[in-house]
């Protein structure tokens, strides 16, 4: 009897639970959150997360994204038909803005791979800039960062910016300022970048526009509704630029401590500074990349990026202690309340796109800038400074460019190096790992007995004529050897003429030379000093080794160690250069050992 009662009760209970209603297919409730890896839509609810909105940490825990824009922040899970992405209570912040880059090629893809969702170009090809404008206006799915740019910079004849072998317009007199700025505006420049060195500066590297021209260009930019930012490298130039009304400085300086007058003028006038400490660290201390990145390089770093991070400036005469001065200036500027913007100046030596912005943020923090300000320096600060309307914040209406971090960036800034997820325009960004450079084994590369074929890659004539230089070169195979005729003439800053061996199909990956110790070849030709240039992938600055050539065949064997600074894991090109003047030489039996 008793057991009957118990069975009955148990039966009723089972029946009760079976009768409880289930969600049907059309039900709005989606109780189970999907994982972050859902990449099928740019409309979703993300949470729970701790939200840094670009300016401050928020109470809200859920972010509602519609069509790639932030719709609303919610304290609790909102009622919504949108898919819910589980944020696992991690940290969410706006995508980063790199306030100082020079972008071409795959720069914007590289940037996005490291969470940089917007890049501000400070001198580059205006065609490239114009091509990016459509993408940045919408929230289409993309694998690259948005870009804003200065286009062509404003500089004097032979001034900084003219040395890269690209023909650019220059300015000589104040009267040209208005037309010059109008031409930039017509080309599509978003703001005006000016290069200026004061007459009072201790060192003059290149000719500069004068103060009157600087003033005229800044006035013209303001009259035409454009921001004017100034490249400076010392205190007097900075003071004069700010006094002339510049909206911001795109570099800090380590020539001397920043003056109280400059601090006050910048703070009260709400001017900003992009200290670009990373690129200067490369001129001075030269340690940070090794410490943060190169010991255990992130998988997304391409061989070209690693080469660029390892590349050195040619001016080793600056004492490394100057770095403390730079850090001190940065700290004083932060304390004075000047808006600091994180900018990497990639892809200059010691920097690479994307990843170097994270290095810059670490350097700002180590200089003594409070963590909150460091986070702002790569989000809301550049948005404020450059008047960007759609990025830099996680607030309603802004683009859903977001980083999900597995650690608290206020406690551990380097968590930015390994974000748990990156969203661009609300789309989950799934970066592709870079192609590995293939290893080259020892042995013959080419003997030119059956033409121009090489074991890998290929040969081509190369000269500075591609950079508007005046040298020239031609190659052909004759009697089982490679014959090179050409002329090396001054014209370009680094004249060259000769034959190049591209080591692999891709210049971006190059070949891995780790197993190689020597390069061996036979050569004869016009007697003189010849030069072998070796290029790391992604770098346009070779490391060189000189050797003498005579009219008789001789075998030359150069140790790879002679090319100090070469990234042997990614060698993209070897370039045999003839001597100065007219020359002809024959090259044969190129071998790696």
């Amino acid at each position: 009897m008793k057991s009957l009662v118990f069975t009955a009760i148990a039966g009723v209970l089972v029946l009760f639970f079976l009768l409880l209603p289930q969600p049907d297919a059309t039900s709005q409730l989606k109780p189970v959150a999907t994982a972050v890896s859902d990449a099928t839509s740019n409309s979703f609810v993300l949470g729970p997360v701790k939200v840094f909105d670009g300016q401050q940490w928020r109470k809200e825990r859920y972010v509602e994204v519609r069509d790639g824009r932030v719709q609303q922040l919610h304290p609790d899970k909102p009622d919504s038909t949108l898919p819910l992405i589980d944020g696992h209570n991690q940290w969410l912040m706006p995508g980063l803005i790199d306030a100082h880059v020079h972008a071409w090629g795959d720069a914007l893809q590289q940037a996005l791979n490291f969470g940089v969702t917007t890049a501000l170009d400070m001198f580059g090809d205006q065609q490239f800039l114009v091509a990016q404008k459509a993408a940045r206006a919408g929230t289409e799915r993309t694998d690259q960062a948005d870009m804003y740019g200065a286009g062509v910079l404003v500089t004097a004849p032979k001034g900084h910016g003219t040395q890269y072998g690209i023909e650019i317009p220059v300015i000589e007199r104040p009267e040209q300022a208005s037309d010059f700025v109008a031409a930039r505006l017509a080309e599509g420049s978003d703001y005006i970048k000016i290069v200026y060195t004061s007459a009072k500066a201790l060192r003059h590297f290149r000719p500069s526009i004068d103060l009157a021209t600087l003033q005229a260009v800044i006035d013209a930019a303001k009259a035409q509704g454009l921001l004017a930012v100034v490249h400076i490298a010392d205190l007097p130039s900075a003071e004069e630029a700010i006094a002339a009304g510049a909206d911001g400085l795109v570099h800090s300086f380590f020539s001397e401590p920043v003056s109280d007058e400059l601090l006050q003028l910048m703070a009260s006038g709400q001017r900003f500074v992009i200290p670009t400490m990373t690129v200067m660290e490369g001129m001075l201390a030269n340690q940070i990349n090794e410490e943060l990145l190169l010991q255990d390089p992130p998988a997304l770093l391409t061989a070209a990026a690693i080469s660029s991070l390892q590349q050195r400036f040619g001016n080793a005469q600056i004492p490394p202690e100057r770095y403390q001065l730079l850090a001190g200036n940065t700290k004083k500027m932060a304390e004075a309340g000047i808006l600091l913007l994180a900018g990497s100046d990639a892809p200059n030596p010691n920097t690479a796109h994307g990843v170097s912005l994270l290095v810059e943020m670490v350097l700002l923090q180590r200089a003594g800038v409070p963590n909150l300000q460091v986070l702002q320096s790569a989000t809301s600060a550049p948005a404020k400074a450059f008047g960007l309307q759609e990025v830099g914040y996680l607030r309603p209406g802004y683009k859903a460019d977001m980083l999900l971090l597995s650690q608290d960036p206020m406690a551990e800034l380097t968590t930015l190096l390994t974000p748990a997820a990156i969203w661009k325009n609300g789309w989950l960004h799934q970066p592709e790992l870079p192609a590995e450079s293939t290893a080259v084994t020892a042995g013959l590369i080419a003997d030119f007995n059956t033409g121009l074929t090489a074991r890998s890659g290929g040969f081509a004539a190369s000269s500075d004529s591609m950079m508007q230089g005046k040298s020239s070169a031609e190659i052909r195979v004759q009697q089982g050897a490679l014959q090179v005729t050409g002329t090396t003439r001054p014209g370009f800053a680094y004249p060259w003429a000769g034959v190049a061996w591209q080591t692999a199909d891709s210049m971006e990956t190059g070949s891995n030379f780790s197993d190689i110790s020597h390069i061996k070849f036979t050569i004869r030709g016009t007697p003189g000093q010849y030069r072998l240039d070796a290029f790391s992938a992604g770098s346009f600055m070779p490391v060189s080794h000189r050797f003498a050539v005579t009219a008789d065949w001789q075998t030359i064997e150069l140790p790879l160690s002679a090319f100090s600074g070469l990234n042997t894991e990614a060698v993209s090109m070897l370039l045999w250069n003839g001597p100065e003047g007219e020359f002809q030489f024959e090259l044969d039996d190129i071998e790696l050992r």
């Binding site: 409730l29 609790d76 589980d86 209570n89």
Partner: protein, 250 residues
């Protein structure tokens, strides 16, 4: 009479004695139901489907806490005052039968409250959950009575029969409120939200909400650990107090 029968009989009579106290039964069952219907269903923000779900979890927690705490605290305090406990200890019945009987009563009440609230949620609140979620929530709530039974036991062993009801109310109601069982915890001021971590009821409700992906997002293990540690500490305290109590009498 075998031992199992003793346990059964004691449990049965404990249940009967409580059942025959309408002053206990009615509020214990009616309060959570009425509260839930009011705040979870009637006053639900228009168009919200998750509100009724969220509130189902929190008011169920609120519901199961009550009988566990009250039955233990008040009846043990009064049994002590009237000498019942001494008498029972003198009888051949093991003390554990006495305690397990009270636990069984708490579980029966918890089950009734779960049945009532789930029905109300399904019928009036239009709550739709998967079988696994309904069942998981029910099991969690039944298990979740343990720490509150221990709190009740501790109070029953330490307080006089006159003081017990007042003190239990003084603990029960603020604890429920501060754990976000009446209003979502996120609607509380910041410092109270941080205080919520103190209460086992907060962790129990977060576990329940986690089943429905409505929790605040702390790890599952954290809530479990805190609940386990709390229960262990309470058990040790109860043992200590019980030793002292029996030691003084013998």
């Amino acid at each position: 009479m075998n031992t199992l029968a003793i346990y059964q009989k004691e449990a049965w009579y404990d249940l009967i004695s409580v059942w025959r106290t309408p002053g206990f039964v009615l509020p214990a069952l009616a309060f959570p139901l009425v509260f839930y219907l009011f705040f979870g269903v009637l006053f639900s923000p228009s168009g919200s489907t998750s509100h009724a779900v969220y509130m189902l979890v929190t008011y169920s927690c609120f519901g199961i806490m009550g009988p566990a705490m009250f039955n233990f605290a008040m009846s043990i305090a009064s049994d002590r005052a009237q000498g019942w406990l001494t008498l029972k200890r003198l009888s051949p019945m093991p003390v554990s039968a006495y305690l397990l009987a009270k636990m069984a009563t708490s579980l029966v009440f918890a089950l009734f409250i779960i049945l009532l609230l789930f029905s109300a949620a399904a019928i009036f609140g239009e709550v739709r959950l998967y079988h696994s979620q309904w069942l998981g929530l029910a099991l969690l709530l039944l298990l979740g009575t343990v720490p509150f039974a221990l709190i009740g036991l501790l109070l029953g062993l330490t307080l006089s029969d006159k003081a017990a009801p007042g003190v239990v109310n003084l603990l029960y109601l603020p604890m429920a409120f501060l754990s976000g069982l009446w209003l979502p915890v996120t609607m509380l001021p910041q410092f109270l939200q941080q205080l919520a971590w103190l209460w086992p009821s907060y962790h129990l409700s977060q576990l329940g909400l986690k089943l429905l992906a409505l929790d605040q997002g702390q790890p599952l293990l954290l809530h479990l650990t805190i609940l386990l540690v709390t229960s262990t500490v309470l058990t040790l305290l109860c043992l200590l107090v019980f030793r002292r109590y029996t030691g003084a009498k013998s």
